[in-house]
Symmetry: C2
Subunit: 382 residues, 2 copies
């Protein structure tokens, strides 16, 4: 027991009990209430006293105990970030990290922490449910929800404001005005990609879709169809957002329609797999077959052979938006009741062809879902 530091006499032991507001007040010769005022901004405290308290805080190295504060204010200054299915591509793409960065930046600007929770099995759902219900966070950000996912319901039941990342796909979700989400304009992006291919003069444009139980995959396919309403169904093959799956889909496409001259792959990863299959099949890119991807994942798109023309989405911005929306929502919730929102507003489908909000809008007091824009990044593959 060498390193054991000599136990300090009484009170104020270094590692043990940290200074309390009480001790600060005592040292400054004021009441706890006044010390509290100073610590929380110091409004309505005379300059002289305020300085005394500040000095005491400084000397004692006082830091407020948040648990105690939370107990009475009922504010945690923390937001849960819940990620369902961490086994998915979330963990092979840099997506996740960028999302997190966006969220983190926005949240910490508002002095909030993020509590990260990953959900894999049933047991995890329960854990998260308990946590949300436990009032440990002021809101939740929900990611990559499965089809009918229990998470939103859990969040709702806990009375917590929440925002979803990615358009939820189950029936009824669309018309659920409580379900605020942020998604990128997958459909519009796909239109951009396919439009570009068509503008290049390509006539047999195929697409490799993502797994069709995910809305992002669905929306991208819809975008493809928007441009090619009478397209040949044999030019559509389903992949799974992985390079492997993209390669397989490409091979299938080639077998079905050897004469195809363009491919829109719904992700860069799938495009990279397709590129290889194309090369192995002796097709030149872009001369024989033009290829466009989706996502613009730097480490993939810029380094394939040839570099990939792709659709870019601003992931970090999406994260930032989610956080901002949540913050707004919480505000709206707090001040609910008063604002005389014209209750008329038909619950218009936010997915009608073009319209996407460029900033958080407002419905009855609360913010509505947001779709962030996408744009085409031209490289060599198309």
């Amino acid at each position: 027991m060498p390193e054991q530091p000599p136990r300090p006499t009484v009170e104020a032991d270094p590692a043990g009990s940290r200074p309390t507001l009480e001790s600060v007040a005592e040292r400054a010769g004021v009441s706890r209430a006044t010390a509290s005022r100073v610590v929380n901004g110091g409004a309505g405290v005379r300059e002289a006293l305020r300085r005394k308290v500040e000095k005491a805080v400084e000397e004692l190295g006082y830091v407020p105990n948040l648990a105690a504060r939370t107990l009475v204010t009922r504010r945690n200054h923390a937001v849960a970030v819940v990620v369902a299915e961490p086994g998915s591509r979330l963990f092979s793409d840099p997506f996740f990290a960028q999302h997190l960065r966006g969220i983190g930046r926005e949240l910490s600007a508002a002095d909030n922490q993020m509590v990260l929770m990953m959900v894999e099995d049933q047991h995890d759902y329960e854990r998260v449910g308990r946590y949300l219900a436990g009032g440990h966070v002021d809101g939740a950000l929900l990611f990559s929800l499965h089809q009918p996912d229990p998470l939103p319901e859990m969040a709702r039941r806990s009375g917590l404001p929440f925002v979803v990342g990615g358009r939820p796909g189950w029936p009824g979700a669309e018309s659920d005005r409580d379900l605020v989400y942020v998604d990128s304009d997958n459909r519009g992006g796909a239109r951009l990609a396919v439009g570009h291919l068509r503008a290049l003069g390509r006539t047999a444009i195929a697409t490799i879709t993502g797994p069709l139980d995910q809305t992002s995959a669905l929306d991208r396919l819809d975008g493809y169809r928007d441009v090619l309403p009478d397209g040949d169904p044999a030019l559509v093959a389903e992949g799974d957002f992985t390079p492997d799956g993209g390669g397989r889909a490409m091979a299938e496409l080639l077998a079905r329609r050897p004469g195809l001259d363009a491919v829109f792959a719904a992700s860069d990863a799938m495009a990279s797999g397709a590129l290889r299959v194309l090369r192995d099949a002796g097709r030149r890119v872009p001369e024989d077959v033009a290829v466009v991807g989706f996502d613009d994942v730097e480490s993939i798109a810029a380094w394939t052979e040839p570099p990939l023309t792709t659709v870019r989405q601003d992931i970090e911005e999406m994260g930032r938006l989610m956080a901002r929306l949540l913050l707004l929502r919480r505000l709206a919730e707090a001040g609910a009741g008063a604002p005389g929102g014209t209750a008329a507003s038909t619950p218009a489908d936010p997915f009608a062809p073009g319209p996407f909000a460029s900033g958080p809008g407002r419905r009855t007091g609360g913010p509505t879902s947001v779709i962030t824009p996408t744009r085409l990044v031209r490289r060599a593959s198309a």
Copy 2:
């Protein structure tokens, strides 16, 4: 508003005040103390009462208020994960996510939450410092520290146990027994890579290093030199862990030593850049020049042309280890004093050529740093 469940009569208002232990106790006809016992495992409570309480908990949908609990137990069941410099490659590689997953799994198994904090500027350092000192978490995991980083000192001052990800590089860090870290065996991995190249019969083996102010880059270079102690200095070029940087370094190497027949790139991303330069220079891989990368990032290594032979490290396992070490450390801290550790143990350099611990060891009551193994993954490039 169809699905809206009927609002319960009085008390237990839906969003407002949640049930307390008090109300559970009342409903079950017991005291708060007994209710508390049941909620916390129910040891020493008669079966009949215990069931009554459980029933009340169920009916009321009671969930303990953690803030209140923390206030008295001084346990947060939360760990901070601090990431310095989120602008780095952390956010383009899938590393970060995998690390997080490992940490998350281990932590949630021990019923702990992770609070994610990103540090970018001075202001952030202060924010994190306050947070750690504020006693909101029971420990901290520190990532990608800058050279002499204030973070460990902050953590130490706050009295919090912490574990660092990646070998810290500043002077004195090595001998600081409080500084527990987890790193992968960069040096050994590099030896594996270069050894493989040599075994292939290559004689002019170059290396593209990472930025030499990072220990991982340094260690990988050391591994290269272990195998090639008398190597030609002109065969070493510094990159920056990006594809671009790798390409530039490759071009430089080619200019200096056109006859080189192998390259060990200290990251897959750099290797992918090098591959392109090699191709553009008319060199065939692996026939003319064999290439080995490092990291085994699936989305890169498996999809370059040709697929990359590389050194694999188990990132998720590293995360898991960090968490486990932290948990152990906390235990050690709590139970300090008693265990009669032979205070002898010389502070042996854990970086002597071969030896790495395969599991958390123990020093004077606390766990020591751990180096996780790496292995070669053979694909087509070498």
